[in-house]
């Protein structure tokens, strides 16, 4: 049976082939790994052991126009959870110590389950020191849990401003998907208001600290003594156009009311006060917002999340009469000598449009002063829908003001084209137009548009796009950069404005509908209005500006379900105007008071 047995030399050859063959394979493989692919392996090796620790940049601070803090930052502890290391058995204890409802942790994990399980999730922000102490004591029994120091928005500076400031929140996976270049999971992003519009200025640059970690992710030390670290750069501080005192007065006035206030500098478009009431607590959004908070806010009958100041639309009532008046004067259809006699209403076809009183003989000025409806039924009938519509649009109605927050509605200004579209070519009659003359009907405007409207009267048709940002402090150079307002002129004669402005002055300071707020110091000019409300009591409206000779502030106030404008809205407007205009005086008074106190102390 030794037919095909291997001779010794052959066996030897086979063993040599195996040994030399394997040796060659190893050398080739080592060459491949250590020489050809060294870079790629080095990268992996560094990824392994060099862990970047992101340090979140504090968001820029909001200052008011006088450099008083509106929104600041405060340090806070954020508790985090890393799913890859986490033990689900901990959940009940964690939920108990955090004081949240069971299922909270699961919900948060589910919300961002699309992220890598090695990335920590923030599960609670602004946690109390008690929680941190508990964590420190039990850290060994809490795998996957850690905490970091972060800065969090601080809203304790005396104004709420929830709708204009808006809030920033942890970026949700849907948005992150599109902005992977700029954001990482866990980063904050502005969600609404100024926080959203100026996100790129406010957010700052994240810092990165590189640390060496071992295979258990335990930190061993710093990487290259911190040479590669990048320091955090705080976001740009914003100088807002807001006047803190005016804002505070407005907020105070609306403590138990619903409505809106928008005040602006008529020449520059700078928003001085901006309020939608009721407000909501921005602090609730600075934390990881719990579903309970969301639910409460969303089911509140006062709809606090809704920004009334720039999004609620309604028929502005008598405040709109000046549109018809200006149109009539500009188009030469009426002049100051033109009069009609108010006998309590206006007959149009088979419909009778009522006035509130029997005003008797009225000209354009007295019709504004006394808010006579009959005059305007007549006038708008003369003007026709399209001329009226043209002037309404000139004053900015029917389109967004392009204010620098994302939440804004454009409203509706009806026109022939509009009625044809809605009712069909012959589906509407001229009767539709009559009530537009007194600001009723299908006209829809926002409080912001009314403030802009008041500003245009204040400044003779010249104004600027309403805005919140006065300037910002660049975080790289530390230089203040002012934002130039975009000015415009709606091209209406001074003569027409003189007539109407004087009538508005008489509304407050003559024998008009708002004499209750007459003040020699403030010299307010304005117009009251009552917006019909199909759902309940009418809304009170006041639009105005002051001082009459050299206007510094234009304002619109809406008080929901408050009845007549002169009673509810006008006094609030006066208080806000006063707070803004008499600031210098008040400071002087304060100064005097302070020095008197000092003298007293010295005397004592």
């Amino acid at each position: 049976m030794n037919d095909t047995s291997f001779g010794e030399p052959f066996r030897r050859k086979i063993l040599y082939v195996i040994i030399i063959g394997f040796f060659s394979v190893c050398v080739v493989q080592l060459f491949h790994m250590q020489i050809l692919q060294q870079l790629s392996y080095s990268e992996k090796s560094n990824e392994n052991s060099v862990k970047p620790i992101y340090q979140f940049a504090p968001r820029g601070i909001f200052y008011d126009r006088n450099h008083q803090v509106l929104v600041g930052n405060k340090p806070s502890f954020t508790l985090r959870l890393t799913p890859s290391l986490y033990d689900k058995k901990i959940t009940p204890y964690l939920e108990a110590i955090l004081g949240v409802t069971p299922g909270y942790i699961d919900r948060i994990l589910k919300q961002n389950e699309s992220y890598s399980k090695f990335i920590p999730r923030k599960i609670a922000k602004d946690v109390s020191f008690k929680v941190i102490a508990w964590y420190e004591e039990n850290a060994a029994k809490l795998p996957g849990i850690d905490y970091i120091m972060e800065t969090q928005r601080d809203y304790s500076f005396g104004v709420m401003g929830s709708h204009m400031f808006g809030y920033a929140k942890e970026i949700p996976p849907e948005i992150l998907q599109h902005r992977k270049e700029e954001y990482d999971p866990g980063d904050e992003i502005g969600f609404s208001g100024i926080e959203k519009t100026y996100e790129d200025y406010i957010r700052g640059d994240k810092g990165i600290k590189y640390v060496l970690v071992d295979s258990k992710q335990k930190t061993i030390g710093r990487y290259k003594e911190g040479k590669e670290d990048q320091s955090t750069i705080k976001g740009d501080d914003l100088i807002l156009t807001i006047d803190k005192d005016a804002q505070r007065v407005a907020e105070e006035a609306f403590k138990d009311k619903r409505g809106a206030v928008v005040a602006m500098d008529p020449a520059t478009g700078e928003i001085l006060a901006f309020l939608s009431a009721p407000q909501y607590n921005l602090d609730d959004f600075a934390k990881v917002t719990s579903q309970e908070v969301w639910k409460n806010l969303n089911t509140d009958p006062g709809i606090p999340l809704f920004n009334r100041a720039s999004m609620s639309t309604f028929a502005p009532g008598s405040t709109f009469k000046m549109i018809s008046a200006i149109a009539g004067l500009e188009e030469g259809i009426i002049d100051t000598n033109y009069t009609i006699t108010c006998s309590g209403g206006f007959q149009f076809g088979d419909r009778y449009f009522k006035c509130l009183h029997v005003h008797g003989r009225m000209n354009v000025s007295t019709s504004i002063e006394h808010s006579c409806n009959t005059f305007y039924y007549n006038l708008v009938n003369k003007l026709g829908i399209d001329i009226w519509s043209k002037y309404a649009k000139k004053f900015g109605f029917g389109s967004k003001t392009k204010i620098d927050i994302p939440e804004e509605a454009g409203g509706i200004v009806p026109s022939t084209e509009y009625y044809n579209r809605v009712y069909g070519k012959n589906g509407w009659t001229k009767g539709f137009v009559i009530s537009l003359g007194i600001g009723q009907g299908e006209l829809n405007v926002t409080p912001l548009q009314l403030a802009q409207y008041a500003a245009l009267f204040a400044n003779f048709g010249k104004s600027a796009k309403p805005h919140f940002l006065k300037g910002y402090v660049d975080n790289q150079t530390n230089k203040y950069i002012a934002v130039k307002p975009q000015t415009y002129d709606i091209g209406i004669s001074k003569k027409s404005f003189d007539i109407i402005r004087h009538a508005m002055y008489e509304v407050v300071n003559g024998a008009g509908t708002a004499v209750s707020i007459k003040s020699l110091e403030l010299q307010i000019a304005g117009k009251t209005g009552t917006a019909q409300n199909p759902h309940g009591k009418e809304h009170a409206i006041f639009v105005g500006f002051a001082p009459y000779d050299n206007p510094k502030i234009a304002i619109a106030v809406l008080v929901e379900n408050a009845g007549f404008g002169s009673v509810a809205a006008a006094p609030i407007a006066r208080d806000v105007i006063k707070a803004y205009l008499q600031k210098g005086k008040k400071e002087e008074i304060n100064k005097v008071a302070a020095s008197m106190k000092k003298e007293e102390q010295i005397a004592n």
Partner: protein, 409 residues
């Protein structure tokens, strides 16, 4: 330089010096990988003690008369089997395998002694009075000698060591002058098992190939059918073996097939080992400066993954130097196998070569990612007393054989 020549004639420095260098490399790598380690920082000192013990053992073995090995072959083998059975009963479980005796603070692995016992026994039996290996009965006995320890070690279970025993057995049978058909009978079951791992179609193809080759050999029907049945049953052995494997061993096989699938799971070690070696580059990151090693990304690195310490900290230069030292030893052993004085010695040298080479190939292969992760130490370098002792003893035996190669009995 006559003295020097005489010394080289009695003592093969080409085997001894590489061995010493490898042990030194091993000590460096163990020192590096256990420095500051919370539980293994004493391993370097322990290994130094093992080295001292091994040197003593080496000197004793080297100075023994050559016949000793043949005389004690059967006894060594018998004692080995006894220990292998005993360890299953009273052994200590380490890493899920019952393979250790605890003696004081140190442990002893009987499977290491069994390597020596099996090499000596097989060599003894295969070279006994010009035995003819080419009948099924003799093949059967030879296989028995090898596979009894294989089975006992599998029960521990220690797959890696079992594989080494199987390789040693096959290698020695091959070396004893087996015919092509004999080799075919020995090897095809392994081939069929491998095919069955790959899938049903591969298994069927392999079995068809076996039938075709059986026709080619034109043996009698009984032999052919017997051989075929052996092959057929081995086709199903893998499935059975796979099921008796521990889950962590099953995972190791799976992770070899696709190591990137689960980078923090069972493929972790393989991946981290490659990252360590690859990131070492040409010069290496420097002694004690490898971040993979120092930050402990490879668990238990001082045992089976000691080679990646070399790869990471000493780079391509160090890695190639280490395998070259092994290569020199292997080539010298091949040379020695042609000059040794009797068949038994030749067989022992081939056995030692196979033992060292199998460990070397499987360990380095797994470190550089060309073979599956099978837990086997790298001879001379890996931390561990039993394996170092036996590895050095085998070197003592082959140097003893070298010393006596020109003497006549």
């Amino acid at each position: 330089m006559q003295i020097s020549y005489k010394f080289q004639d009695r003592f093969d420095l080409a085997i001894f010096i590489p061995t010493v260098l490898l042990i030194v490399f091993g000590l460096l790598a163990i020192y590096s990988s256990t420095l500051n380690h919370p539980t293994a920082s004493g391993n370097f000192q322990k290994q130094v003690i093992f080295v001292v013990c091994s040197v003593v053992a080496f000197l004793i073995i080297y100075s023994l008369p050559q016949q000793t090995f043949k005389m004690f072959a059967v006894a060594t083998y018998g004692i080995s089997l006894f220990f292998l059975v005993a360890v299953l009963v009273i052994g200590k479980t380490v890493y899920g395998a019952k393979s250790w005796f605890g003696i004081g603070g140190f442990g002893f692995q009987p499977s290491e002694l069994a390597k020596l016992g099996t090499i000596l026994m097989l060599s003894y039996w295969l070279t006994y009075k010009n035995r003819d290996i080419n009948n099924l009965k003799d093949i059967g006995v030879a296989l028995m000698i090898g596979f009894v320890p294989v089975m006992l070690i599998m029960l521990e279970p220690d797959m890696g060591t079992s594989i080494v025993f199987a390789i040693i057995t096959i290698s020695l049978i091959f070396w004893s002058g087996i015919s092509l058909f004999g080799l075919f009978v020995v090897l095809t079951p392994a081939f069929v098992i491998f095919a069955s791992i790959l899938g049903t179609y591969a298994l069927i193809a392999a079995l068809l190939l076996v039938i075709a080759i059986l026709f080619f050999f034109k043996r009698d029907l009984f032999t052919s059918i017997t051989v075929f049945i052996i092959n057929l049953s081995s086709g199903f052995v893998f499935d059975y073996l796979y099921r008796i494997l521990k889950p962590h061993q099953q995972k190791r096989i799976e992770s070899f097939l696709n190591p990137m699938a689960d980078p923090l799971g069972s493929g972790y070690n393989a991946l981290q080992a490659k990252v360590a070696i690859g990131s070492g580059g040409f010069w290496g990151k420097g002694f004690l400066h490898g971040n993979q090693t120092q930050l402990r990304f490879i668990p238990e690195q001082w045992t089976d993954f000691i080679y990646c310490v070399i790869g990471e900290e000493f780079g391509f230069l160090g890695s190639v130097l280490v395998i070259t030292l092994f290569f020199i030893i292997f080539i010298r052993l091949m040379k020695l196998s042609s000059t040794a004085k009797d068949q038994f010695s030749v067989s022992v040298v081939i056995g030692v070569l196979t033992l060292l080479f199998a460990h070397f190939a499987i360990n380095i292969g797994m470190n550089v990612g060309v073979t599956p992760v099978i837990g086997l130490p790298l001879p001379f370098l890996s931390y561990g007393g039993s394996s170092l002792l036996i590895d050095v003893v085998t070197i003592g035996i082959v140097l003893n054989i070298y010393k006596n190669r020109k003497m006549h009995t």
